[in-house]
Symmetry: C2
Subunit: 513 residues, 2 copies
């Protein structure tokens, strides 16, 4: 009794399936197998695919081990190990003295409604409580051109694959799983909290107890949670101008009234506008986008002012993961005698921003409330990543990676500085050693928006400065360049292209006058 | 020149370190090594620890390969491979014709401020825009007693360690890393979106395009995001009564006005209170906590009512990951002709809630806005977990795991049903096959709160029903039991303990009368 045509004879939906398939049928089913992969995995993949296509059904008997070994071209022992694994995991069922069978299939799925053109019978716009963000928050998904001076994107050639893999694997030990795989409620991984407070925070001069720390999904979530807790409707929030565009958008969602506070070469200017704020958001170590570091005197004065006018200071350690390799000024949090500084940082930006890990350090009263808010939002950052990062820090990999990344960024920054001095001598720029970004002031007659559009067409991405000014008195002649993605030897070529564009743009502008 | 005392002779801070250590010194430094681990990892660990303790410093020369092999008791080739790895990663520096050295240390860290008793000089309570949640949201962290009938906690004996490890490893391929390690902005992993829409959503009868799906950090984030977008200040939200306590808390944070809508044996009752709602949150497949499944007629009527009164329906597929193994009623989203149903689900509850993965399916207009909101909150769920789950589904492991978990839950549920019938025959209970929880109605004179406190002291955890009633007409005689954690053979013992307690409590109550 030979069976060849499969699909015609097997109907998974009615369960009318033959109990045995012929060798030729099996050869066809198994023909898609990848002989270089692990036999268990590969066997399971082709069986699943055949079930999915309706070519196989539950109750069908598998060929003998010998027969399978022949078809697959592997040893019989390999086949037996693979089958035993698949039986353990429920794909196959072993019946004594009878053989191995495909396990009973899942019931037929509910008939899916046909793919349809969505047809909204509802005026969504009128129903959005926090509408219009989709326009405001531009996606970062446009693929970068050949020379991208875009900030913050990850250079995956630097990702410590082997070490991270080792730590992920360690986090999958049985005892580790028992710690992180459960719903952790409002908790964080205790081991990550320990590593953080013992081996990371001291670099910022911060010595914290575990109840003063919250793990977040990157620096972004730190900013968002703090804004939601402290800068709601009816409060005033001060932000730097120019500054991080997302900060203004977040405060738009939380309905705070925004005060734009100007910045000079010592950091945030302590003007009168400060005094009416309930909360002030600053990036003292590395002002975004000007790269300015707030001076020690300014830091001390800011904290005095905060105490006398009773406002809260949110210290955002923007890109200071990179500054590990050089002594820094003390963080505001480390100088804070009142417990009124909330310190927000990232742990993954340097390694793989896609991992989304960061932290907030603050008074236990604040952390307790942030923790409760985070629990309602999504409980906690995934436990496996928290535990893997704890192990990564404990094994010393974080420190090493920091050092390597800093050395690499130093090389690239030196190349960019040299290229700017050589090819764009009349452009003024500012850069903090140990970070990835440069803030450029172009000649006044140049429009950074036009330059960036022209550059994008020529394969060079730069960030026009206007977006950091939140629509207020936009200075049109600033751009930001960063060396996060571009290798040392591609930098000069990018700057030469930029120089050519600036030359042409100047000519064109003069032509129009 | 023999050196023995280490700490005394090396001062990492001043850099005054000897360039060579004696064999005895090295033996002491290396004595902590774990000879069963991977030599690279172990060598790196002891070196890091010695650096940390100040026993080693940058610039110290490593012993020769031969010498190290002797001290460590491994082959010279192993030592050379380990050293080469550590050089690659920057722990060690190889100087030509001179030897291998400990890399230059990081600069001394900023002097940490001493651990201090936090001293808040600020009235935080007055500043919280969303205060008082910390009280309301009880932590789930109290360790469970011997017999825990708590809902939803993870039974890690069911976690598919080997398969998940295989998928995490696959997600660490170079090409995979290039996809997920970057800051993904407002995007999700395209592969997870594909697996979800092709292999998971069809089980609910849903056929979606990628722009109708958002990946979330578990079902909890789906609920939160949707509430923040659609149930802000000035809107009315209907929730089930009794129902999920967190839903009311979330709506408290988003400032919606809440309507409590009663439930009967067919699910949500379609009363007049419904009509004044802007958004109605329902759990049709498995009402929480009553375990009721909404009837087909009720589903049809709810959708008709939603269309005629123009409200939005949020369908929360509470615990229906477990129901894969039996045909279900069509989901509201699959019956929705108007695109007015928002469908919220979990992907990790069944496997490891700590992984925090779930999804929302809705009109592209809604998804676009949720995506923008999520971008401001924390960008995206970690990319490595998204990719690992995509591979897990593609390889068929998700389906298998689902089947195994359903079989196991079925066994446990049967044991609980039998134990209840045998030991507590006058208690009425309700359970939906394929799920983990039971809803028990105790004799009227019993107080569930007192019972649960007494039970906790005797090593049995049950959930009193009162918390599902949001303080309105609390029915005092309900409890919920679940079989998420307790194995089949421990269940009856737990119920016998409960029976004894109820017996004593009744006696005590009668005594008081």
């Amino acid at each position: 009794m030979k069976r060849i045509g499969l699909a015609a004879q097997v109907d998974a939906r009615t369960g009318q399936s033959p109990q045995r398939y012929s060798p030729i049928a099996w050869e066809r089913i198994l023909s898609g197998i990848d002989r270089n992969g692990r036999p268990q995995v590969e066997l399971m993949k082709v069986l699943s695919a055949a079930l999915e296509r309706g070519e196989l059904a539950g109750g069908v008997r598998l060929p003998s081990g010998r027969e399978l070994a022949r078809i697959l071209g592997v040893s019989r022992n390999t086949v037996i190990a693979a089958i035993s694994d698949l039986v353990d995991h429920g794909y196959l069922v072993s019946r004594e003295r009878s053989g191995v069978y495909i396990a009973d299939p899942l019931p037929p799925m509910a008939t899916p409604s046909a793919p349809r053109q969505p047809m909204d019978r509802i005026d969504w716009g009128a129903r959005f409580s926090v509408g219009g963000i989709a326009e405001a928050a531009a996606s970062t998904s446009i693929p970068p051109p050949a020379h991208s001076f875009e900030y913050g994107q990850f250079d995956f050639s630097l990702f410590p694959i082997a070490h991270w893999r080792e730590c992920e694997r360690a986090a999958l030990g049985k005892l580790e799983i028992a710690c992180w795989a459960r719903d952790m409620g409002d908790e964080d991984d205790v081991e990550l909290l320990e590593e953080l407070r013992k081996h990371i925070l001291p670099y910022y001069g911060i010595w914290s107890r575990p109840d003063e720390i919250l793990i977040t999904l990157g620096g972004q979530q730190g900013r968002y949670l703090v804004a939601q807790l402290l800068s709601g409707r009816g409060t005033r929030a001060g932000i730097e101008h120019p500054g991080l565009p997302d900060m203004a958008k977040i405060l738009g969602v939380t309905s705070a009234e925004i005060r734009h506070l100007p910045v000079d070469q010592d950091g945030l200017i302590l003007g009168d506008a400060l005094d009416s704020c309930d909360t002030v958001y600053v990036t003292p170590d590395h002002q975004n986008p000007t790269t300015v570091t707030m001076s020690l005197t300014r830091r001390q004065d800011l904290l005095k002012r905060a105490a006398s006018r009773d406002f809260v200071v949110v210290e955002d350690t923007f890109e200071t993961e990179f500054v590990f390799h050089e002594p820094s000024l003390p963080s505001l949090r480390s100088m804070d005698g009142d417990n009124r500084v909330v310190h927000v940082g990232s742990l993954s930006k340097l390694m793989a921003p896609g991992l989304r890990l960061g932290y907030v350090v603050a008074s236990p009263t604040v952390i307790r409330e942030l923790r409760a808010l985070r629990r309602l939002m999504h409980r906690h950052p995934p436990g496996n990543n928290q535990r893997a990062l704890a192990i990564f820090i404990r094994h010393g990999h974080y420190r090493t990676h920091m050092r390597r990344a800093a050395v690499e960024l130093g090389r690239r920054s030196a190349a960019l500085a040299a290229a700017l001095d050589r090819w764009l001598p009349d452009v003024r720029w500012r850069h903090r050693p140990g970070t990835s970004s440069f803030w450029l002031e172009l000649p006044l007659e140049l429009d950074a928006g036009r330059l960036s559009m022209a550059a994008e067409r020529r394969g060079v991405r730069v960030t026009p400065g206007r977006r950091f000014f939140s629509g207020l008195e936009p200075a049109g002649n600033f751009i930001r360049l960063a060396v996060s993605t571009l290798g040392e030897y591609q930098i000069e070529a990018g700057i030469r292209l930029l120089e050519l564009l600036i030359f042409n743009l100047k000519k064109g502008d003069l032509g129009h006058c």
